[in-house]
């Protein structure tokens, strides 16, 4: 502890100018060491606090005068007052401290207010920085671009095929390096134990393009066809207990022997949005033009802009290989990786940072108001001192010192609040948010906090200063006595009150709008019933060649469904490929067209007969799948697809042409539409979907959905056991309750709304307290004036009304400003920020009503007192 103390003190010496520090460093440190044993600091747990308080006050004062008084004192000392400056500043700080301690209640309120503002701002900024603004952990991340293929007709994006990837080359000179990668889940075998790992297949150049080297070992060999694997830190830790000798060992992935060549550092993450356990070297991609699985990342050559690269890719697009007949035309689209990673978070975090800054401004205003009323109360003292020769600069320094000390304490408390708040807010965000676990209060975040509090200190010091700027010695002495009307110190108070009300109204309106759109999101009809529904992925064994037989796959899935359906507590089980929110996505996307109608792209799913019933989806018309559909060409379409293909007509009985090379087969075929199902969708506009029987398109995996009679999580072990009974080698993954999947899908909006509501609530609380203080103070200051009025014939009722009118006028003015600002903000930022639909009138009534109620509450008691004041008593005081 004492060593830490010493180090802190040594570091703090940087506050002094260099020449002073170098000359006296040893002396100052020796002094510090000895002084800590001085009996003056007493005993007990507060001894350290007393010691540090004294040390810091001395250090702040003398460092300030060394830095800012030194320029003059370097010159020969010519006047006594100047050489006293250093003592003066230390005294300022000491005096400011005494004044803070003197009125502990208002000090505590002001510091708490500021600490809340600074704490919440710091916490939100820490999250915004960590998730949204922090540069990606690659070399020169702004130079990295991703490239996708876009289908010109439908506008949908997909990965590239092998031949297209090869065609990019160096992008016509635009790129320094290009690498492809393919998402993958693999079955690995370590010492006979089977584990599922997420390993992406990558071009040998990947690590060079990203500019990140392995922590141990090396990256992939650039040439040759060797099977190599680079482990992620997590897998290395989990499976190999961080044993460095794993380099060179063989690792069985999907039945093939991969050599471990390197281990990535713990912070490495690629791709950003997905967990990865390892990366597999893929020297080349499948030559199949329809296998669009290659995701591309490239590094721009220095000096090449994104626009240049896009242009050169356009040129390349003309030369892209096309499949038979050139029916599908794809173009290559480049996007900055950093931008792609930031986009989803720009809106929520941008809004939150804006809102918290508003809260901070409000806290600042509040604290400034408290300092201002304190300064106003000291007008008599200040006037006296000015009359006795205190300079204006000296008084200014005092006020600034008070503001600074104030803010320093509030900042310390604010940082503590932030330390506590960050984990709480972090737990509100979706668990899958990239880099969430890296969010912390690092130097950058604290630097922002420091900047913010410096600005706060200035504001807190300067506002009272401006209030006193009109103060001359004469007028101050005059003003120190009782005044009747037109008290000049009331104007800043009025401005502060209006500002406070305006900011609060703006915040409450914003939060109300966000809350409304969030409620709409929660109440959204997902097209299915997520209650008591268990969802899981089931994979067939990767390396079991028997499952190449489609009939066996179909049979296996049927057995699984039968066994799971027979589990006690299970009502019914169904299967599909890609339920709403599934990690697995869809089978494929194809374009459909009704005769004479527009082309519509739709997602293709395969599902079991019971799927719609299990999900609780509604069939609008027609029927569901039945056993007789097993070998027929029948489809069910979603409501969105039906509405686009056959608007306003009965759908059942129509036929649909599934184009060639879709997920359903190499040749174009005609299917009969037998029914229309409700749109099952978690968020956004409903995607057009097309369902075929699972027997029609059997895959190597299925999404299992299980309707249970009780808590789905309780049924989960039995369901797992039933699946494993079918074949112990089956892989079960992502077992979750559907209600949780739904909750996760809106977790980001939920976090945003929660935070906005919290901030608005805090703002309402702060400004209620602030407004209360300001208005009651202003009324008390008017007491004499009111007494005189009553002596001159004003009725108590009239006085009461006048006080109330004054307060309501201020609040109403502030509310009007706040509402105007809110309208502007909505016009400017639109539903981008505030969410769905038109702004609701309730938001515009609630906030002003709340503020008016606070205003009435604040002046009621003082106004009553003013109305019952004895005019004679007041007159006697004048």
């Amino acid at each position: 502890m004492s060593r830490l103390d010493r180090r802190v003190f040594s570091w703090l010496l940087h506050a002094y100018p260099r020449h002073f520090r170098e000359r006296y460093r040893a002396d100052l440190e020796a002094f510090f060491e000895t002084d800590r044993r001085h009996p003056r600091y007493g005993t007990g747990p507060l001894r350290g606090v007393r010691f540090w308080r004294a040390t810091l006050i001395d250090l702040a004062g003398s460092a300030f005068s060394q830095r800012f008084g030194e320029a003059r004192t370097h010159a020969p000392i010519s006047s006594g007052s100047r050489s006293q400056l250093p003592v003066g500043v230390a005294a300022d700080v000491r005096q400011a401290w005494r004044r803070l301690v003197h009125s502990p209640a208002s000090t505590l309120v002001a510091i708490l207010t500021l600490a809340l503002g600074i704490g919440v701002t710091t916490a939100v900024y820490a999250l915004a920085y960590g998730v949204w603004l922090k540069p990606l952990p690659y070399r020169d991340p702004e130079q990295l671009v991703t490239i996708v293929a876009r289908e010109s007709a439908s506008g949908r994006n997909a990965g590239l095929s092998g031949p297209e990837f090869d065609a990019i080359g160096d992008g016509g000179g635009a790129f320094d390096g290009v690498a492809g990668f393919m998402y993958g889940t693999n079955l690995a075998r370590i010492d006979g134990e089977r584990v599922r790992i997420v390993a992406h297949r990558c071009s040998p150049a990947l690590f060079d393009v990203l500019g990140v080297a392995p922590a141990i070992g090396r990256g992939f060999s650039r040439a040759g066809a060797s099977l190599e694997i680079v482990l992620g830190d997590r897998l290395w830790n989990r499976q190999f207990a961080r044993d460095p000798s794993v380099i060179g060992r063989t690792y069985d992935v999907d039945g093939e022997p991969y050599t471990i060549v390197g281990v990535m550092p713990p912070a490495f993450r690629f791709p950003q949005t997905l967990e990865a356990d390892a990366w597999l070297r893929a020297p080349r991609w499948r030559p199949d033009l329809d296998a669009r699985f290659v995701n591309v990342i490239a590094r721009l050559r220095p000096g090449v802009t994104l626009a240049d690269a896009r242009h050169r890719l356009d040129v390349l697009t003309g030369a892209l290989p096309t499949n038979a007949g050139g029916l599908k035309r794809w173009s290559l689209q480049a996007t900055l990786l950093a931008e792609e990673a930031r986009t989803p978070y720009a809106r929520p975090f941008g809004t939150l940072v804006g809102i918290t800054l508003l809260l901070l401004a409000l806290a600042c205003t509040n604290a400034a108001a408290i300092l201002l009323t304190r300064a106003s109360a000291r007008r008599g003292e200040i006037a006296l001192r000015m009359a006795l020769g205190a300079t204006r600069a000296r008084l200014a320094r005092e006020l600034l010192a008070e503001g600074a000390l104030f803010t320093l304490i509030a900042t310390a408390a604010g940082v503590f609040i932030a330390i506590e708040a960050v984990p709480v807010i972090r737990s509100w965000l979706p668990a899958a948010t990239p880099r969430l676990d890296e969010v912390r209060l690092d130097t950058r975040v604290l630097a922002m906090t420091a900047a913010v509090s410096a600005a706060t200190a200035l504001i807190c010091g300067l506002v009272p200063l401006f209030a006193h700027r009109a103060l001359s010695a004469a007028s101050a002495i005059a003003g120190a006595g009782p005044r009747l009307a037109g008290d000049p110190s009331r104007r800043p108070l009025r401005i502060i009150a209006v500002t406070e009300v305006a900011m609060t109204v703006l915040l409450i309106v914003a939060a109300t709008l966000m809350l409304r759109s969030f409620v709409a999101l929660v109440q959204r009809d997902h097209g299915f019933d997520p209650d008591r529904l268990l969802a899981l992925n089931v994979w067939l064994p990767f390396n079991d060649n028997r499952y190449e037989d489609a009939a066996l796959r179909t049979q296996t899935f049927k057995t699984i469904l039968d066994r799971v359906g027979a589990v006690p507590g299970v009502v019914q089980a169904g299967a599909t490929t890609g339920f709403p929110g599934s990690a697995m996505g869809v089978l494929g996307v194809a374009t459909f067209q009704a005769p004479g109608g527009p082309k519509v792209a739709a997602a293709i799913h395969a599902c079991s007969d019971a799927y719609f019933a299990v999900m609780g989806a509604r069939l609008d018309s027609g029927r569901g799948f039945e056993p007789r559909d097993a070998n027929a060409r029948t489809v069910i379409v979603s409501r969105a697809l039906a509405a686009r293909l056959w608007p306003g007509t009965r759908v059942a009985g129509h036929t649909l042409v599934v184009p060639a090379n879709s997920a359903l087969g190499p040749v174009s075929e005609t299917y009969e539409v037998i029914g229309v199902a409700s749109d099952m969708q978690l968020a956004g506009d409903p995607t057009p979907r097309l369902y075929v029987p699972l027997t029609r398109k059997s895959t190597f995996w299925i999404d299992l959905v299980v309707r249970t009679s009780g808590d789905p999580r309780a049924a989960s072990p039995l369901v797992r056991a039933a699946v494993r009974d079918t074949n112990p080698d089956l892989l079960i993954d992502n077992v979750r309750g559907m209600d949780r999947i739904v909750a996760e899908s809106i977790a980001l909006q939920r976090a945003q709304t929660l935070l906005a509501a919290l901030v608005a609530g805090l703002a309402a609380l702060l400004s209620a307290a602030g407004l209360y203080g300001l208005l009651s103070y202003a009324t008390v200051r008017r007491m004499r004036e009111l007494g005189v009025r009553m002596a001159l014939g004003a009725t108590p009722h009239g006085v009461f009304a006048s006080v109330l009118r004054d307060a309501l006028g201020l609040t109403g003015g502030g509310a009007a400003v706040g509402l105007t600002a809110a309208l502007f903000a909505i016009r400017l930022l639109g539903h981008e920020v505030f969410g769905l639909g038109a702004p609701h009138w309730s938001a515009f009534v609630l906030a002003p009503a709340l503020m008016l109620a606070v205003a009435v509450g604040a002046v009621w008691a003082p106004a009553r007192r003013a109305a019952t004041v004895d005019p004679l008593t007041v007159i006697r005081e004048i």
Partner: protein, 119 residues
Amino acid sequence: MRDRRPAPADLTPIAVEVLLSLADAPRHGYGIKLDIEERTEGDLVLGSGTLYQAIQRLERDGLIAAAADAASDADPRRGRVYRLEPDGRAALVAHLRKLERSITFARRRKLLPGSRPHS
């Protein structure tokens, strides 16, 4: 800077106390602080920054100096030892004379009780 010595009147209250402390013996920084505290009965408690700022000025003006030859008996844990220079003694005495005049005057006006109890 050395060519123009400050007039004795320019001594700050802290500077006067530091010079007084060094008048009877050379002391290190913390020794000066303790001496001042004792003499003023705790009215003047100096922090390191304030003290060394005063020391810096006095050194610069040639009123005190770090005792280089006292290195042998100096405790390195307590910092440098300072002693009073002849100029410093002169400045201190001049300052005290002025104070004495003021005090004599104050006594005559019955602002202070008694008249020189020790002389």
